[in-house]
């Protein structure tokens, strides 16, 4: 009971802070929209059809949704570094709340914000020629939230190990771009050089992007663009198992790491 209240309190504060900082929210939205407009419109004509009925814009849109969720949740760890920098982390660490609850609250906070960001981008789907039936939202949103939780936990875990603002920014940039570029956001991953194919397949983000795309484009056309491992095409369920397992490891690491904070 105490733990639940602790988790809720930590979560609520993170949401409140972001809500206060609307400029940051807008700037986080501007980035993926820019990608969509510039690359989507710019490359669609050149690239032609990637699969029957799927041009580049349509291909990229789910990827961008995934990217938004991924980047926002991964970057949410910055709140831990901020709190350390401005002293608030001490207030949290001396409070009679278990470190497990702190890690859980932080992870859920980051994931919630990422989910909201992704959902806002989703509203732009008609502009890019995608019609979404409301029926897929009950599936799509939980999938997005799961991906967000996994990446948010990773971001929180890393942030607890990194003590300075500058180092955190450097590590984030070092990790986030390869993670996004090698996850199938911008191109189908089945016709890439072997070395890249290996990197794509060990990149956990790949298994976050793929189910979102499969859900949004419908299983049929997407599977030809989907990820295959040793000739086996990953289903949505298998993708989700990979990302859930990854997320579980990260949450445990984040909880452990908060426990060792001094």
């Amino acid at each position: 009971m105490n733990n639940l209240r602790g988790i809720y309190t930590i979560w609520y504060r993170d949401i409140l802070r972001v809500w206060r900082d609307k400029i940051r929210m807008v700037s986080f939205l501007a980035f993926p929209l820019l990608f969509l407009v510039v690359f989507g419109s710019g490359l669609s004509g050149t690239m032609g059809m990637l699969a029957p009925g799927i041009d580049f814009s349509k291909f990229m849109f789910p990827g961008i949704i995934g990217m938004t969720v991924l980047m926002t949740s991964f970057m949410s760890g910055v709140s831990v570094v901020w709190d350390r920098e401005f002293g608030f982390l001490k207030e949290v660490l001396v409070a009679p709340v278990s470190r497990v609850a702190v890690a859980a609250g932080k992870t859920l906070g980051g994931a919630t914000i990422a989910l909201i960001q992704g959902a806002v981008i989703l509203l732009f789907a008609p502009l890019f020629g995608l019609t979404l039936s409301p029926g897929i939202l009950p599936k799509l949103l939980p999938v997005m939230f799961l991906v967000a939780c996994a990446l948010s936990a990773m971001g929180i875990f890393l942030a607890t190990r990194i003590k300075s603002m500058e180092a955190h920014q450097a590590v984030m940039q070092l990790l986030v771009f390869p993670m996004v570029f090698l996850s199938g956001v911008f191109f189908p991953v089945n016709n890439v050089p072997t070395w890249m194919g290996v990197l794509v397949r060990i990149n956990p983000a790949t298994y976050g992007i793929d189910p979102i795309r499969q859900l949004m484009l419908g299983a049929e056309p997407a599977s030809s663009l989907g990820i295959t491992i040793f000739g086996h095409t990953m289903s949505i369920g298998e993708d989700l198992m990979v990302i859930a397992a990854f997320g579980l490891v990260m949450v445990i690491l984040a909880m452990w790491s908060f426990g060792t904070q001094e």
Binding site: Y8, R13, L16, R17, R20, G87, K90, E91, V94, P96
Partner: protein, 329 residues
């Protein structure tokens, strides 16, 4: 343990890689008293506070707060204490009220009591009118008062204050002290504070003087001052060296020079001054007498002053905050 001791520390040691920050200290704090930990910067005061409030683990030794072990019963210890840190620890993007609401939730203040408590503590530090303002817009003194209010919100048994008045103007310092002392009377809260301001330490019932990780004296302010053994006389003459030798020869007084004047201690100094002015052959330029302060005690114990280091560290603190405000570390 005895029931009247709210804090008990036994043979506490904390080592960092190549540094002994706290070197085998033991002391006890009575329930309801104001206990001061005094010492220059780097003496280990903050390390002691960090261990007592469970932010850092002791290398060896034992510490109990409210009967709970700081190493094994962290949750109970945390519930028993309130803290005002040396560095600010508020969420500056939230309002004063939101900061307090966060605190009352994580400290398990029952929902039915929250409103009343928040109103009470904000009233005490005179910030009720500003409760809906974002903390970022507060002055340094207001932030410190808000932190104090927050530290009291869950009615802790012990309130830890780590250099509570560092960087505050004298007027705010005085108000803060009025508040801390009235709190002790009304709530019976034990106050544990570190400071390097001598005049602040004099508010305490007991003072432990710390230097290089050890407690070198523990007594009441009066008792500590008694160690100095008299009044402090500052003497300035046309030839201090000659006067120093004369004092030694004529009265067997060991005076020391601080570069500008001679300083020595003597019992019943007010009676000694007339004798001195009559008998001293070196011409006297000025003479003054004051009662001993804890500064003198520290000097007596360690041979070093507290004040110079205090000023220096305050300057460092200012430089650091300036750097922080401008996005550097």
């Amino acid at each position: 343990m005895s029931n009247s001791h709210i804090i008990e520390v036994e043979h506490l040691v904390k080592n960092y890689a190549d540094l002994v920050a706290v070197n085998d200290i033991s002391f006890a704090v009575d329930d309801g008293e104001v206990f001061g930990l005094l010492g220059p910067n780097g003496a280990g005061k903050t390390t002691v506070i960090n261990i007592l409030c469970t932010l850092s683990k002791p290398t060896s030794g034992k510490a109990l707060i409210n009967g709970f072990d700081v190493d094994h019963q962290q949750s109970q210890v945390r519930q028993s204490i309130g803290l005002v840190f040396q560095d600010p620890s508020l969420d500056e993007r939230l309002t004063a009220l939101e900061n307090l609401e966060f605190h009352s939730r994580v400290y398990n203040v029952p929902a039915s009591l929250r409103k009343e408590r928040v109103e009470q503590v904000l009233g005490m530090v005179e910030l009720w009118e500003r409760r809906h303002d974002i903390v970022k817009t507060f002055s340094g003194g207001m932030k410190r008062r808000l932190e104090l209010a927050r530290g009291l919100l869950h009615h802790p048994k012990v309130l830890f204050l780590d250099e509570p008045t560092l960087g505050l103007d004298p007027q705010t310092r005085r108000r803060l002290w009025d508040f801390i002392l009235s709190l002790r009377k009304t709530e019976g809260t034990t106050v544990f504070l570190t400071t390097h301001y001598m005049d602040e330490a004099e508010h305490a019932n007991h003072i432990a003087v710390m230097d290089y990780g050890k407690i070198i004296a523990l007594d009441s302010p009066q008792g500590l001052k008694g160690m100095v053994g008299g009044d402090m006389i500052s003497l300035s003459t046309v030839d201090d060296q000659k006067a120093q030798a004369e004092l030694q020869k004529r009265y067997n007084i060991q005076a020391r020079s601080d570069g500008e004047q001679l300083i020595f201690e003597i019992a019943n100094g007010d009676r000694f001054i007339p004798t001195l002015t009559k008998e001293l052959e070196t011409e006297i330029l000025s003479i003054s007498l004051r009662r001993p302060t804890l500064d003198d005690v520290f000097l007596k114990l360690t041979g070093r002053g507290l004040r110079d280091e205090g000023v220096k560290s305050e300057f460092k603190e200012m430089a650091r905050q300036f750097g922080r405000r401008h996005g550097r570390r």
